[in-house]
């Protein structure tokens, strides 16, 4: 077993988004990478009805010893939000020094596209409260224009979140290969997406 980067503390990562965006696939990659790194991993998600365009979340917890499968409110070290409104919706889970990484592309909920409600400016509201702890990434744009496959949006987001995960790049790449095993083209695209996400974060941080 590799030396753990984490000592006693459990790493809590919450992935949220809209059904169909690849929330569950992304959490599979993260939990597989954590296992490859020698951590104990627990992951929890919801299937069925909620997957049809609804709000979807996946809890991932890893470390030396993990008890329950759910992250308590106020204890998520990282929230990866594939959609900004969904990131805001789960904000109560964020720990006092936690980081939230959001894709800037909005998917309008029914009440908004039917013209009954406005989509709140959640990006600005988050920046106001969290400052540097809220990172906004044009992941869908990068996935569409630079990778050429919008489905890799989730892995662009993974790249942009990587430094907060305490996972080694090698293990993350191995996990991507395992989760998409047999699909060489998809693996290649996702490696590119990962790289571009990491690069964008570096740029943002300078």
């Amino acid at each position: 077993m590799k030396d753990n980067l984490l000592e006693e503390k459990v790493k809590n990562v919450l992935v949220v988004g809209v059904g169909g965006q690849g929330v569950l696939r992304l959490s599979d990659i993260i939990s597989t990478a954590a296992l490859l790194q020698g951590y104990q991993v627990k992951k929890s998600e919801v299937h069925g009805m909620a997957q049809r365009g609804g709000s979807v979340n996946s809890h991932i917890r890893y470390g030396k010893v993990v008890a329950g499968p759910l992250i308590p409110k106020g204890e998520a070290d990282l929230i990866i939000a594939l959609e900004p409104l969904e990131g805001y919706r789960y904000l109560e889970y964020l720990s006092p020094d936690g980081v939230i990484v959001l894709d800037q592309d909005r998917i309008l909920p029914p009440a908004v596209y039917l013209g009954e409600m406005r989509y709140p400016n959640v990006e600005e509201a988050l920046k106001e409260v969290l400052g540097d702890r809220a990172l906004i990434i044009p992941a869908t744009k990068i996935a569409v224009s630079d990778v050429g496959n919008y489905r890799t949006q989730n892995v662009v987001m993974l790249g942009a979140s990587l430094k907060y995960l305490d996972l080694e790049l090698d293990n993350v790449k191995k996990a991507i290969s395992l989760v998409f095993s047999g699909k060489e083209k998809v693996i290649k695209q996702n490696f590119l997406a990962l790289e571009l996400g990491m690069r964008y974060l570096e740029k943002l941080r300078v």
Binding site: D28, H47, G48, G68, P72, V112, L178
Partner: protein
Amino acid sequence: MSEVLEKVETGKLAILSGNEAIARGAWEAGVKVAAAYPGTPSTEIVETLSKYPEVYSEWSVNEKVALEVALGAAISGSRALYASKHVGLNVAADPLFSAAYTGVRAGLVVVTADDPGMHSSQNEQDNRFYALSAKLPLLVPSDSQEAKDMTKLAFKISEDYDIPVLLRSTTRLSHSKAPVTLEDREEVPHKGYEKNPSKYLVLPMYARKRRVDLEERLEALRKFSNSTHLNYVLEGEGEIGVIADGVAFQYAKEVFQGYPILKLGMPYPFPDEKVLEFLRGLKRVYVVEETDPFIEILLRALLQREGLKVEVLGKGLIGERGPVPKYGELSVERLRTHVIAYEKGETSSESSETSSLKHALKYDISELPARPPMLCPGCTHRSVFWYLGKYKNVIITGDIGCYTLGALPPLKAMETCVDMGASITMAHGIEKSLKEKGENKVVVAVIGDSTFYHSGVTGLINAVYNKSKIKVVILDNSITAMTGHQEHPGTGLTAKKEETVKIDLEKLVKAIGVEKVIVVDPYNMEETKRGIAEMIRYDGLAVLIAKRPCPLYIKFNEGAYQVDNDKCIACGLCISLGCPAIYKLEDGKAAINELLCVGCDMCAQICPVDAIHPIGRE
């Protein structure tokens, strides 16, 4: 996912969901036959088993059939597994109760996956009570490793005591993933069939003897329950203890750190002696469980029997209030807040969960635009609901599946949904009832293809036989879609993806005696509109089959459409389809999200000014 994850073996360690772990445990225990009807959160159990070549696995048409298939396999010598969601076991309750009498010969494990919090279900019934009423031993794992280990042990218990074993999972266990140590499969010799009518034929004269025998088996199981390692004490200090089972045990461990905890992996038969030993020196016991007070009731009965005075704090019965929430899924924080609130004597506990972060936010989280699940872009059901919803004077009864979402705005074309198959039978009842009042209302039942084979067909036979004039819409997307695309009798493939007979829905409906059968392509708006009008006008029972495969399953994508903004007159017609790909701009005109649109063409067909076209093909 399981095949992938099993490649991640770190010294035979794999991350498995509770469901994958149950499947793996059954496989390691040498299971030969598995039968189920798909239902969240249980589906992946038999789906995973179907990938093992050594196991005959099937999607049965419904849960009753599945349990009878598994029982048949068990009494003829093969270890067998049944799996369903909690409400599915209601359908299979008939064979379940008698199977306790007949016994099993080879091991039979009945897995029920309950859904506290109703993530994807119509109720949150607690199926542990089936153990009590059907008189079966009950195992309740609390993580993936236990799920695998207990499934293996369940087969042994089933054989040792000649009785089916009920194994209870919950959504949180079924869909949480955790590392599990993998072992090899143990081939258990086939026991073969042996004729024994006095055991397997429940004529009253035989059944009465089996009933007495069952009592003896339960007494032997009570002794086992008192000695098994499945029920153990986590040492702690003080005069306050905790009893818990399942995932609730994990929460109890975090909330009640340092307290002695009795973990019940086998809550039934209730391990009375072990519980009494645990209670020694305790003044108060918290009972932490999901969803109903099952252990709590058994514990209170035991205390009454022994004349013991130990304070029991759990959910309480009707009219009582305890520190553990009476309904909904538990979590560490929910349990903690409720216990603290109770001890402080507060009356309401749900609202006390607040954080400083929440107060600092500009928008109240509870007032954000909701994101309910919806029919997917390109969903074949959309056109049918869009036209049906326009008939204001009809009653529309619905059923269980993705299409239940047709009830939500803006389509709002469904008024009831109770259980599998109830669309047709309740429509029939409504029609007969209103006739008594002198009203001849048109009642339309909407049901999916898989649900129709499950239990819709019997209701339709009943309607034909009893001179019903109801209208039935069968939404035939040629797959069980909601649970993640499982095969069924109309798909031409088995659970193991072998070719088989494909039932012709139209012929089947006609053979039952339905004279008016209309078949439409739901992607053709005009045809769908005319078909529905013809069905509703028809004086007698009529069936409309809207036939087209689920676009998600066949990965339908003809390329996205776009709205010509100059032509658009902002009439809102396309918006009223409730397609997640279509949205309203500030000026009221429509636009299409090209990442979501799959090009089903429904909106283009109904646009009055021909403003919607495939991108690049104006």
